[in-house]
């Protein structure tokens, strides 16, 4: 696996390769089923869960339809609280801002809190190019970084790795960049976590600059919120002198009170806990406590594109819990890399085409990377209608292709539509299938078929058509219906 998602093949091609990785298949099956059960248990405890989901959706919708107002309010609150606010139109601009801020401190390294926004803009590459070491401090991010790997899950970016693989990565790589893994390290998760604690401790204690994202940004107070488990977030948000937070513009919520909904929805949906171990909230600069040089970079990077789409707007409700990934039967088998983005799974299949457009092979194929089973909607804490969004995006992909030389699919679909447009045409087509059925008499199923149908029959027998369709039977048994 290379270090970039650029140039990823279309989903079906990447998926074919991923499906053959038996180790990853087992790791993913185990992990997704574990988290599904945990989520189901703690969600089941909450009597008003459905009301909470509705409230979560309504809060986000309210913000999104007044986003300009809330962003201006957030900026004002942050500034009043002593933070400096920056705005970034795209990844390149955000990276430039962060690099300049780090350089201004004179530091040549930063510690990072797990952040989807900084993964999305590939900030680490920009920092590396500027000669700045970026240390990922979330355990899963550390595993991905040390393994020269790509994230494959929103919550647990190293979900595709099992304990034995993680042990090998730690033994091989930790010593290259700091405190080595202890001798005799086993693959017990407790020992692996201990190794990460030892490895990162010196980095936490000496780093002068930290970079984070934020789960929520409260407009009326300027409070940023980071929800985490390990304490690496608290370390980064507390110990350094300078804190730079890259925050997507959709992360804003109007008031602190809105967090009573979000903080019930997020942990239960995400890690399957009643509450995550640590949540940090800070409002600009607190004299004598924590970073005294605080910056917030508000990031667009395609979010306003999604905002402009009436249905697509819903996808910006996403609070990055990853419940949809964990319940997705496609994700469970294929894993995250095939989605060609830091946002994999069902939400990635809608978010990426909405934010990045549908020009690359992978982005064109993502809306089709779903059986539309609907498990994602049921799990989504903010009720994003992912299956409907996927269908809408499929329509966009098809419409963008119209006008050129028609594909085989387009010809087939138009032919189908023509046939079904008149009952007479459909009846004539049935005569053909009945003829085939008679020719195939006594064959109760078909083996391998040529052409595009081979995609079906490579692994599945196909049904042989019957000698008499239902319509013919009805006419024969019940006579014609003048309504026809």
């Amino acid at each position: 696996m290379s270090g970039t998602f650029v140039g990823m093949p279309a989903f079906p091609d990447a998926a074919r390769e991923a499906l053959a990785d038996s180790q990853q298949r087992r790791n993913l099956h185990h992990a997704t089923h574990t988290i599904r059960d945990k989520r189901a248990r703690v969600v089941g405890e909450v009597g008003n869960w459905e009301e909470l989901r509705v409230a979560g959706a309504e809060i986000k919708d309210r913000v999104l339809t007044h986003l300009d107002t809330y962003l201006e309010q957030l900026e004002e609150s942050l500034t009043r609280a002593g933070a400096t606010v920056h705005w970034a139109r795209d990844a390149e601009e955000a990276n430039r801002i962060v690099v300049e801020l780090v350089r201004a401190t004179g530091a040549d390294e930063v510690v990072k809190v797990k952040s989807m926004a900084t993964q999305e803009i590939e900030l680490n590459d920009a920092l590396e190019a500027a000669g700045i070491d970026a240390w990922e401090t979330d355990l899963a991010e550390l595993i991905v970084q040390l393994g020269h790997d790509l994230p494959s899950h929103i919550l647990v970016p190293a979900i595709h790795r099992n304990r034995a693989e993680i042990r090998e990565i730690f033994l091989r790589e930790m010593g290259q960049v700091g405190t080595p893994a202890p001798d005799g390290l086993t693959s017990e998760p407790r020992e692996l976590a201990e190794a990460a604690r030892r490895h990162l401790r010196e980095k936490f204690l000496r780093s002068r600059v930290a970079i984070s994202g934020a789960n929520f940004a409260v407009a009326d107070s300027g409070t940023l919120v980071v929800v985490e488990s390990e304490g690496n977030g608290r370390m980064c948000l507390t110990l350094p002198e300078t804190l730079i937070s890259v925050v997507g513009i959709e992360k804003v919520v109007p008031t602190l009170a809105d967090l009573e909904v979000m903080l019930q929805l997020l942990p239960r949906s995400s890690t399957g806990e009643r509450m995550n171990p640590y949540t940090s909230m800070w409002t600009g600069v607190t004299p004598g406590d924590g970073p005294q040089d605080v910056h917030v970079v508000l990031l667009d990077n395609g979010r306003t594109e999604a905002l402009a789409d009436e249905l697509g707007r819903q996808a910006l409700r996403c609070i990055r819990c990853s419940a949809c990934l964990n319940v997705c039967p496609v994700y469970e088998r294929v894993g995250g890399h095939s989605y060609g983005s830091v946002y994999p799974g069902p939400i990635g299949a809608v978010l990426n085409p909405l934010i990045r457009g549908t020009s690359t092979p992978v982005d064109k194929s993502l809306p089709y990377a779903s059986s539309l089973c609907g498990a994602c909607f049921d799990a989504c804490p903010v009720r994003i209608q992912i299956p409907d969004l996927l269908v809408r995006l499929r329509t966009r992909v098809v419409d963008e292709k119209r006008g050129g030389i028609p594909s085989g699919e387009e010809i087939a679909m138009k032919g189908t539509a023509w046939m079904f447009a008149e009952a007479k045409r459909w009846e004539r087509a049935q005569k053909g299938s009945e003829l085939a059925g008679r020719a195939l008499r006594r064959r109760d199923g078909l083996g391998r078929l040529p052409g595009p149908l081979s995609a079906w029959t490579d692994a599945r027998d196909a049904p042989a058509p019957p000698e008499e369709t239902f319509r013919s039977w009805w006419r024969r048994e019940r006579g014609t219906d003048e309504r026809a």
């Binding site: 059986s371 498990a375 049921d378 539509a417 995609a455 079906w456 049904p463 219906d481 309504r483």
Partner: protein
């Protein structure tokens, strides 16, 4: 009550025993069933593949053909899901707000078979007999789009002689997904293989579901594996009676899917 049968194009052409079974069951329960010959297809495959424009005339045709009936019954959760959940959206997205409203109203009286039997007719025992070991797969669209819940199971539990066993991981998608089965054939087969494995674990001889499309997929895998498990639509199980067994026609004359 004037009840129309919407056979669905797939059942009409490929699985005629299923709509025949619907006619049998509904007539047994005293309904007069009509089959409007103007019907073709709900357009689901076109809509779900991104061809909303091509689906629009089929949305309108569906409304034209079925509008005058008191109830429309179809043996497919997926097609009923498309009519109820997608038709008005297709019309609206194509700029036909008039049609969107019309089809939204019409869609309210379109029922999947188990919904019609349990909710409208108020029946769970349809007088069927089916002395076989059976497991039931709730298809995604009946489960999560129509929310039919346990209705099919209530109907099956009332069948005489049936040995109904629970399917492990029942609520997980089988991987059919319409054109997904072709466009992402590898993933589709990976999902289907797990479903087929669960079916085999039950040691059932018949797998029952409310959608023949999903059954064609799972059944195609089971057949390729020579697993010795038949697939059968819920309607056909409900249509089976003592008399069928007396005539030796149990499981219908049709072949395995």
């Amino acid at each position: 009550m004037r009840v129309a049968l919407f056979a669905t194009c797939f059942n009409d052409a490929m699985w005629p025993e299923t709509p025949k079974a619907v006619v049998t069951v509904l007539e047994r329960l005293g309904c007069t069933v009509e089959f409007p010959l103007g019907q073709t297809c709900c357009g689901q495959m076109l809509t779900n593949t991104g061809y909303a424009r091509e689906a629009l005339p089929l949305v309108e045709r569906f409304a034209d053909v079925f509008e005058s009936y008191d109830a429309v019954v179809a043996p497919s959760g997926s097609c009923v899901g498309s009519v109820r959940h997608q038709h008005s959206g297709v019309a609206r997205d194509c700029g036909r707000t008039d049609l969107a409203e019309r089809v939204a109203t019409g869609a309210r009286k379109v029922y999947e078979l188990s919904e019609f039997l349990v909710d409208v007719l108020g029946v769970t025992d349809v007088g069927a007999r089916f002395p076989h070991r059976v497991t039931y797969h709730p298809t995604c669209h009946s489960l999560r789009m129509l929310r039919v819940g346990d209705k099919p199971l209530e109907l099956l539990r009332a069948v005489r002689g049936i040995d109904l066993v629970e399917l492990p991981g029942a609520e997980e998608c089988c991987g059919f997904g319409g054109t997904f089965a072709l466009k992402n054939a590898d993933t589709s087969v990976a999902m289907g293989s797990d479903k087929a494995r669960h079916v085999r674990e039950t040691e059932a001889e018949v797998l029952v579901a409310g959608d023949n499309s999903c059954l064609a997929h799972i059944g195609g895998l089971l057949r390729r594996q020579r697993a010795g498990v038949r697939v059968m639509h819920l309607a056909e199980v409900l249509a089976s009676t003592e008399a069928d067994f007396a005539r030796g026609q149990e499981l219908g004359a049709e072949a395995t899917r």
